[in-house]
Symmetry: none
Subunit: 193 residues, 4 copies
DNA sequence: GTATAACCGAGACGGTACGTCGGGTCTTTGG
DNA sequence: CCAAAGACCCGACGTACCGTCTCGGTTATAC
């Protein structure tokens, strides 16, 4: 299933949307942002790198951050856990979350930053990224024996909160961090890992 | 301790920096950002509102975000807990943190966002805001009976992480949130609220 | 022959330069300079008056004076003598020169002034204004019976020199001035007017 | 007679104007303008070069061009002919005029240019430079046998007009130019030089 | 001597224009 | 109707310079 909403089964006449161009734009956007940072990348630059015109970008995406969000999702880095309802234990789940977040760090940080100035983007970001990740973690926590709903929600905020917090502040999501956070999530009374 | 770094003890001749102007700029910056949002405020606008020249801003601050960080700190909103080494229990400490963060939310969010595009600002933000807050929380946690260093650090990341996470995503720092997070911090084995 | 140098015969795709905008800018520039004086007119003001963006001006003209030179030439005021190789007698030729120069005085003075600070503009001014006028006068002098080349060149400098001299010093190019200068140009030995 | 208007015979107390500073400013102004061109020189730069403060300049001169005009006159370059009512023949008088104008060309050109945007400066320029030169030339023409007032005035405009015209257009005031202009001034019927 | 006042260098100040840059729209030619 | 190219409007940016104001400090009279 494609990660965009437009249906290609258009009826009317006219040229169809070029799939190669769409992919080239997404790739160029992702690569440039990771390499040079979001703010240093211009729409014109992405278009040029993709061999596309600026208008082709704005025909299909509402704005630069919307494009970058799409690019992130398309690259699948965001699919921190591709097989969505994962049945892995919490520690390895969280490990994968951190690894993926580290890889996509420049894009994630830019998006969160832009989302502060752009309500629509913020909504998109929450719907397409944040909420999906929360759901996956909730499932994992249930399987890990966190039966109390309230505690589960608290842990969702604590774990993802800490991940973003460190990401945004340039602090590494290293093993020590991962271990410390996992320990927080241990159900009361459980003796060992 | 004053909130500015420049030393006022200049030796040489020449007109001194105008303190009224400095204060007017900081006030104008803070008020405009809170009222209209960071991105909608221009340097020229701040200067005009302060009855100052644009150059006077650029003479003393490296950029708009640097100014806003100063303005935030000056306004003391950042002093989430003015009596720094607080001896209050964790729950009321965290309550005050959340209340202050809610008040200054537009400024905090803008600064964190800009810091993603500006390394120097990020360093400033960490040194002048993030680290101070962490220290205060560490003290409070010690007094709350969290004796394990590692657990304490994990809680610092979890609590502040969750605060920022919700702040940046426009989710309220309400009583339910506060209660849930406090519960996480209860030392293992402590039986009740 | 059009008064612009850019070749409109572009091959490739892309939006064409907007002719209405070009004309609006030239008109706005000319009118504003005549009305308010060169130094009091800003690029932004010209752009606004023309309903154009500042960037559109800087895309096509190197600087404010370059634009004003173009505007002057476009307005045809510069065509002090539109039917270029004129066959009118010297006195009426010079009369027309003075009348046109008086009309365009603010623009001419500003351009000559700016040309003192800008080598490229000076070259443009000489090529597109000064030399053309000199040629027209040379023709007229030949027809007026000034056969000696050296004397002709001296008269060219004397007549145009005096015109500019008085123009720049705010002295009128009135009938008395015209008559006195014409008398200078009378070929030696010719008895009467 | 000094070339400034302020009378030093002040009554009251207070420090007297520093003559060394005054001279240093005039020299710095003249040299910088000749070397770098008027537009490229700032008031602050002149002050620094003279080891003076900006305020010291603005205390005594109304503006940058006023200062430069003074500097020109002080340097005596403007005193094209120091022994004012000269009794030399026209050809050597004009030769000296051209030589002096060539030396001071950058300053003269800048002043004439600035005068286009500044009415007060234009008046000063005419009174202190233009009119004095015209008077000297009138005397010389009388002695050269140009008895007709009208013709004399025409020649004044023609000769100085041509000098300025060539100066402003970067054309040399060379021997050929001088000879051609002198010839124009030969009284009707006079056979040789 | 001791006030008083104008000077001096230094440099911050309010203001205005500059020329550049990027976002997002519009308009061509061509497929 | 889509695509590349690129001109367009808009508006913020940070810089530069102008001429003024304000420092601490330095001469000079005038008392």
């Amino acid at each position: 299933m494609p990660d965009q909403t437009y249906s290609d089964a258009r009826a009317g006449p006219g040229r169809r949307r070029s799939e190669p161009t769409r992919l080239a734009i997404l790739d160029a956007a992702y690569d440039l942002v990771v390499r040079k940072g979001y703010a240093a990348v211009t729409t014109a630059e992405i278009a040029a790198a993709a061999g596309a015109g600026k208008q082709t970008i704005y025909r299909w995406w509402a704005s630069k951050p919307a494009l970058v969000l799409d690019a992130l999702q398309h690259r699948g880095e965001v699919e921190i856990d591709p097989e969505f309802p994962s049945d892995q234990p919490l520690s390895s789940f969280f490990q994968r979350v951190c690894a993926a977040a580290t890889r996509a760090a420049p894009v994630l940080r830019s998006l969160m930053a832009e989302a502060q100035f752009d309500t629509a983007l913020r909504a998109e970001l929450k719907a397409r990224l944040i909420e999906r990740r929360r759901d996956a973690l909730r499932q994992t926590l249930i399987r890990a024996g966190i039966t109390d709903l309230r505690q589960r929600e608290a842990l969702v905020l604590a774990l993802y909160g800490a991940v973003w917090y460190r990401l945004l502040l340039d602090e590494p999501l290293d093993d020590a961090f991962i271990a410390a956070m996992i320990e927080l999530a241990r159900p009361a009374g459980s003796g060992s890992d």
